[in-house]
């Protein structure tokens, strides 16, 4: 009894006061730097690099916003694209369709694959290694190579022509490793306790996966899907030769359509429509900012949850 009490009282000491001893004043630091000028140089380099990195980011965003927002006009959001009015509305709508189509193809595949890897495959399964290697290879392939493959396979060999569908399949392959990896991580973060509890109550494997494991992994999976949306919205090179560059609202999945990023490329390509390109850049940048914010919020929720446990 006595012993326990002493342990508790020692724990009562304010931790902050201990750390405060370790904290150095500016003057102390200067004295240390005087002793070792190399440390000062290294310190300055580190600070300089960080300042450069974040200044570049701020400057880029600020520049595009400041120069672009005055160029945003209602005309740019009218329904039809014409040579007089380079409306980005059709491109916006195509982007939404393209995103939905790609996700419909890639998300079930990615989640299914992750479920297989985490829940079904036994350790040392040869398929797991092969799938991991394939996913790693896919995530390193540049988008232009995806574009050429999409053109050779979907557009030419399958005779789909330049179409939303060809573009969506190409992008689906591109985001597949991303969806797979984030889902895998989300599934691995689900504690085994939950699975054991479910089995203990007599649920089968399938029911455990769908009713217990997947629901608790949803925020993590969603964060991955949102990142994938960011990739889709920003992609250009993989789409120019798969979904083509027609600037009209697509009527069917087989019609050619340009997404916002491709639209922006088309505007800058001939150098005639810089104002419209600025405006498109603003819209793209805002979409990316929103997407990053959402995925950060979700990731924070996942982290908070895992700490609770």
């Amino acid at each position: 009894m006595e012993k326990k009490n002493t342990i508790e009282s020692s724990e009562l000491v304010d931790i902050n006061s201990i750390q405060a001893i370790n904290r150095r004043s500016v003057r102390q630091r200067l004295r240390e730097y005087k002793k070792s000028p190399l440390s000062l140089v290294l310190f300055l380099f580190v600070i300089l690099a960080a300042v450069v990195t974040f200044a570049v980011l701020l400057f880029l965003i600020g520049y595009i916003l400041v120069k672009g927002i005055p160029n945003l006009s209602l005309d740019l959001f009218s329904w039809n694209y014409s040579t007089e009015n380079q409306s980005m509305m059709p491109a916006l709508i195509s982007t939404i369709f393209m995103t939905l189509l790609s996700l419909i193809i890639a998300v079930p595949l990615g989640i299914g694959a992750a479920i297989y890897l985490v829940e079904y495959a036994r350790r040392g399964n040869k398929i797991v290694g092969a799938v991991r290697m394939a996913a790693e290879t896919l995530s390193g392939v540049p988008s232009i190579v995806y574009g050429l493959f999409g053109m050779l396979f979907f557009v030419t060999t399958l005779h789909w022509g330049y179409s939303l569908l060809a573009g969506a399949f190409t992008l689906a392959i591109m985001i597949l490793p991303l969806v797979m990896r984030t889902t895998e991580e989300a599934l691995l973060a689900v504690p085994d306790m939950l699975r054991e509890g479910s089995f203990g109550l007599g649920a089968g494997k399938l029911r455990t996966v769908f009713k217990i494991v997947l629901p608790s992994a949803v925020p993590g999976i969603l964060a991955g899907v949102i990142l994938a949306i960011g990739r889709i919205v920003g992609e250009t090179a993989a789409l120019i030769y798969t979904s083509g560059t027609v600037a009209a609202v697509p009527k069917t999945p087989m019609s050619s359509a340009r997404t916002l990023a491709v639209h922006m490329y088309a505007l800058t390509d001939n150098g005639l429509y810089m104002e419209q390109a600025y405006a498109t850049a603003v819209v793209l940048l805002i979409v990316v900012l929103v997407i990053n914010f959402l995925s950060a919020v979700l990731a924070k929720r996942v982290a908070a949850k895992s700490i609770e446990r």
Partner: protein
């Protein structure tokens, strides 16, 4: 019984989903190689890879992609020279110098840097960097230097992300041991922790090289795209990626096939880089 069938059906469905990525890799290899090797053989592998002259619409045409290979290597090397020091130092800042209060907004900022579309980077390069280089060096503006700076910025998030987690993976006892021996904070970080995180940082650099060599739109918008050997870093250059995008739209017959063969060369580069990356990652563990 019904339950059992259902279990089996879903087990197979999940397996098929897992095999999808393997199928995708196989399809990509088959289609690229099947379409890329015949034209290479027709042109002559040596003439294609080391030919100095790319004039696909001349009579007779000439398909030498050596200037483009060199172009890709130059801008990638430039991007590494600019991006790697800044990236590693920023990673050190994030892992060891950054106050917690500052870290919370800065970490998403690095992710944002990775999320900005390459077409926006390219546009930024076109309207800011190209005029800047033109003014500063009294040259044409669109050049190896411009492309290197832009690519250097674009590979920053990759290098920062991988290096930061590599530094964080070094056991804290290394750092504490160095401090206890009298080293300053900076010396402990740079001379004890960084060497210990070496292979992780290398993996980040290799990943950055892959990003830089495969980047298409942004490079195309600032590199000038002249398909000849450059004499200085202030001259324009064309990369393998830019060559494909620029000419695929109107190319026909052998010209078109030569462009696909260009993609094969790029793909082989990427496969080699991927292999290096996985080897480094394995060594990390």
């Amino acid at each position: 019984m019904k339950q059992r069938v259902l279990e089996l059906v879903f087990r197979i469905l999940f397996l098929i989903a897992a095999l999808a990525s393997i199928l995708a890799v196989i399809l990509i290899c088959i289609f690229l190689f099947a379409n890329g090797f015949p034209p290479m053989a027709e042109i002559g592998v040596f003439d294609f890879l080391f030919g100095m002259d790319w004039s696909p619409v001349d009579v007779p045409p000439s398909f030498g992609i050596f200037p483009m290979i060199v172009g890709s290597l130059y801008v990638t090397a430039g991007a590494i020279i600019i991006g790697v020091p800044i990236g590693i130092l920023t990673a050190v800042f994030m892992a060891k110098f950054c106050p917690k209060r500052l870290y919370r907004p800065l970490k998403p900022a690095v992710e944002l840097l990775a999320g900005i579309p390459s077409i926006v980077y390219g546009f930024f390069g076109m309207v800011v960097l190209v005029p800047l280089v033109r003014e500063l060096f009294d040259s044409k503006g669109a050049s190896i230097l411009t492309a290197s700076i832009l690519l250097g910025i674009m590979i920053l998030p990759t290098i920062i992300g991988v290096s930061e987690s590599a530094i964080r993976a070094v056991p804290n006892s290394y750092y504490e041991g160095a401090l206890a021996l009298g080293a300053s904070h900076e010396r402990s970080v740079f001379f004890v922790m960084l060497p210990a995180a070496k292979s992780g940082i290398m993996a980040g650099i290799v990943l950055g090289i892959g990003r830089a060599i495969g980047e298409t739109m942004a490079v195309m918008m600032v590199a000038g795209n002249q398909a000849r050997m450059p004499d200085s870093i202030l001259e324009g250059v064309r990369t393998l990626t830019a060559n494909i995008v620029m000419e695929m739209g109107y190319a026909a017959d052998l010209h078109r096939e030569a462009l696909i063969a260009t993609a094969v060369v790029l793909f082989v580069f990427i496969l080699i880089i991927n292999l290096c990356f996985s080897l480094l990652k394995r060594r990390m563990k």
